[in-house]
Subunit: 352 residues, 4 copies
């Protein structure tokens, strides 16, 4: 087959650069163009020397890129992707938006959490939000895919089986997440200055992170009821990975109902994900560790039970830049182009 | 005054070595002897070269140490301190136990969580467990002080005002803690092998950590009711510090009761700790970060409110080796010897 | 073509585990068997959970492995590979030794630096030591390849052009190398205990590291004269990579000889490596950084000139586990089996 | 005695903030004022929350500060301290300059390496550059002390005994230094962005770092001859500390002259520093490690001999922010005010 011509808008951002890394080894895709506002005219390898002799493409502008591409990944701050989408639709180019602009179905949520309104509401009817393991059937040829956020991916995969089966007490879900510093991107900030971040650790945006409505949208959709969560992200002094530790009060106890034993819920998870290559339900007694998924597209999930409080604790680990961004975006591209979902994603996490 | 003659048993363990570091600058204490089972006969500075020319004492055995000391810090694995305590009482030496053997009042808890029985139950009547900010009045001249664990200290200080005032829903407390690798001690393990720990992050002993009954003992004592918590520790890839992120469902809402507004609870905390040098209630809008407390005896506490779920989130930060171990032990020694509580503890956390 | 059946002896050591990671994506190789003395009978993924669902092979013993393999990688402590080699030759299995036993041509060097004698001297006549970029022509069908050490690889590639052209003062070479902690392997040691290694940095085995004779063997062979170097390795608080900073006194000055200008020597390097995919001579003004090569098979080389002292400074960066071990071993396997040298090695270093 | 009234100009830079940390515990100094151009009007603890309740002074301007101080530490980019010095002399305030403006005696060197000319040459006759262990006798009441740079301190202390005794080959000195990221200061740069610095390592400013003339000035002064060195700094992925690995070709060999044995030179070092509290010549067989000096004013020195090349290798370790900046500045203040040199500097390096 001819290779798919791919464009990456925002290729010098972290998600963009990771896309380039992964696309370099995708057997059915070729990078047709890459663009950057800040570095137009430079080679990517001048910005990121790891790409020297690997991808020495010159960063171009969006219009040039759109002219060369069949599908475009847009990795931009929120508020900028709708205009890209308009142009894509005009030109018949498909769009996978890595940013936040095509994630929230409810325009009110977008307004409340991002402070902006959708300018082209009809665009959003042509887009679909997809975490492949949970929603691949929603893909019906839409020209736009809203690629999920990193935290929401890690949390949805952790909670889906128990939420879909409505085994949890409503409003009892607490999610304590920890992300590596790549999650904060390439922009220089005091928080991600080496001496501040190294040997430091703290929560940020407690109970106010913009991924909250996206998390609730997915959980509500899975359960069929409105789900509210408390979500607290923290910044880890390491480069990659997210651990989400999710606390769920069970609706019933194993004394009343055999479906509520640890073993029954463990089996439920194993069964739920039995055909999913990228979700690994860990053996009983193990705990998900982000070192086992880094640089790969895996999501590891471990299950724990606090029988003293009848609370289930589910821990998930992903690489925020792969399964949480570029890898999942390629998974979505594979869906869009009817390829095997794992094409180009056979990434083995290094052992160290 | 004559300096207090201090002995440190287990001086080559991490808490022991940290005690030596702090005692070197205590104006009213002198290190009379240090002991170690593994390194008897060696100088401390041969084991820890940072002590070269600072503390070159030779590590001796326990009996020799007891003969030279007025007060002894024992930093030993659980199960070993009772025998030390017996000898101390015989010789009229005071004991501050850094280990776990004098923390739990209920022998049954000790048996359940540590798998051992108290051999000398009467000893425990002569001992007292003290987190100074919450329990200094319990000191009535007892010859033995059980020094609190690191996690329990960080959690008790985070929750005390809200628990003592019974503003929380029982059994709704969830504590997600993260500790630096010094918490795992000097012993070599795969988990703390550099390449495993670095760029890794995971929970451990989920819902089964031995500090759980100690946490519940303190919270139950403060509230006057039996409190059960879910407690999940995680291992951070850094040396020092504990962040405890504590989730509390409020008993009432601010719509019904003005004591349940964020501002009211913030004021409650400020007032509760207004005379406490070592507990800093951070300004509104800040989040506790362990980088601001490392190498110091401070406990920083930040308060956050998730009004969408009527949940209060309290975050505390301590240095696990100082306020979580050696520093608090010296605070307790100061109480024991009627010194100003902060004597020898004017440690300024470095900015980086 | 049929895939090459590959065995990995010592698969639970760091080099072994990295070989498995890379072989998983080699298009013409399949892992026929893996072995381990310490973990025989366990799955690799029980020892390294990153391999779960990726390589769940059971670790077997050497004899079983030899029966299943066409080529064997042996990743063992020195002194153990000769016996493996004897068995390989008996069975017609090829051997790539990742350890130190087939690196030194001079048995006396081996004895002096490793404290052992070759038991089967004739074996060493059937073996060849290959850094592909410098010695691939030495491969004449030998059944055994001695895979180079990590430091010697980084140093030989840094110095080859200037040494081969005899532009340097003899005995003036000083090499200051810094390696990540994977270089110390999986064994637990105090030095690689997280709290000792993290935020620490020091040299080790100053002027006495066993890689010294291997470095000198290659440099002497390139120059045709006996070369002696001072070599000091240091341990970096990070997982992967080696930086070698090499100081060379030039034999002549650019005032006398135009071949001794910075530009002339830079051109010499560019030309020397112009057909070498895995050696990147960086643009003038750049400095080699191990972050740009990690998880890849590249060796980055940067050139610097101290005209005040007429000294050339060459810096090389490799991933010690890839170009310094498993990647180069696969490069050697590709040579052995007449494959393109980069087969299975199209690894793009991540940007972060 | 009355406490010395101290002002810190540039208190929000890294060296300034470290000065505040150390001055907080100096028994004979009090912080009279602190200033900052960028943060005037804010509390120091708003910029660095570690100082909350410890030093909540409001940052003022330079004139206000000068009016309140007997001695001023200026921690500023080069080119700004002469104007401060003029004002200090006018007001009879003493000055310790932490920046680069009073380090180089030769105005030509300053011009060549810093690109600026001294505006007030006569000021420099009233100033003196002091590494206390080597030059304390140069203090004759001068109103200005030029505080040494971090790298030059670590290197001068490593080389002084061998250089002062002229045991080295001229122009054979090579210095390979490695510094933690605090050396790059508080300013945000791509190089010190967490994800770039973490798990990365590289040299910078190879053979062109501005500390070179300062290093040569001290070595030349000690030896009485003009000394030229090759100096290469590297950036370590950790917060604090400098390791300098210094290579020296010995002038003679131990075969000819018994002063050139390892033991003789070791004894020379021990004797040279026998009265120096802050320089620790490590036991034979040890290597200096920055983890043993961090957060302290010590300089650890280890000696190594490469007899194969008749080269001496001296390794020194300091905390770049303490002995390399703020600690040494306080040592110089103590000299200026005729206090014991270690006053306020009894800092015990933590073991971890």
């Amino acid at each position: 087959m001819d290779k798919i011509k791919v464009g990456v808008i925002g290729a010098t951002g972290y998600a963009g650069a990771e896309l380039v890394r992964l696309l370099c080894n995708h057997p059915y895709a070729e990078i047709a163009a890459i663009s950057s506002k800040s570095f137009e005219g430079k080679k990517l390898s001048e910005v990121y020397p790891n790409f020297l002799n690997v991808c020495d493409l010159v960063l171009t502008n969006e219009d040039d890129l759109l002219a060369k591409s069949q599908v475009v990944f847009a990795s931009l701050p929120h508020g900028l992707s709708e205009e890209i989408a308009v142009k894509c639709l005009e030109k018949g180019v498909k769009l996978i938006d890595i940013g936040a602009d095509f994630r929230l179905k409810d325009a009110q949520d977008y307004k409340e959490w991002y402070g902006l309104s959708y300018k082209y509401p009809q665009l959003h009817e042509q887009s679909v939000y997809i975490i492949p393991e949970l929603m691949r059937d929603s893909y019906k040829g839409q020209p736009i895919i809203g690629n999920p956020g990193c935290y929401p991916t890690s949390i949805a995969l952790a909670l889906a089986p128990i939420v879909k089966n409505n085994m949890f007490e409503e409003n009892g879900i607490i999610i304590d997440s920890k992300s590596g510093a790549t999650g904060a991107g390439r922009n220089l900030t005091q928080t991600t200055h080496f001496c501040d971040c190294n040997e430091g650790f703290a929560p940020y945006k407690v109970a106010s992170h913009r991924h909250t409505p996206e998390i609730e949208q997915t959980l509500s959709s899975l359960s069929g009821k409105s789900v509210k969560v408390s979500f607290t992200p923290h910044l880890l002094p390491l480069n990659r990975g997210i651990i989400s530790t999710c606390y769920v009060n069970l609706k019933d106890s194993y004394e009343n109902d055999k479906n509520y034993t640890y073993d029954a819920i463990y089996d439920l998870y194993k069964d739920f994900y039995k055909n999913e290559k990228f979700v690994r339900v860990l053996p009983k007694g193990s705990a998900a560790n982000l070192k086992n998924v880094k640089y790969s597209n895996y999501c590891d999930v471990s299950l724990h039970f606090d029988e003293r409080t009848n609370r289930f604790i589910i821990v998930s680990a992903i690489d925020n830049m792969v399964k949480g961004a570029a890898g999942q975006a390629i998974q979505n591209m594979n869906i869009m182009f009817n390829l095997e979902e794992d094409t180009g994603l056979n990434l083995v996490a290094p052992a160290f």
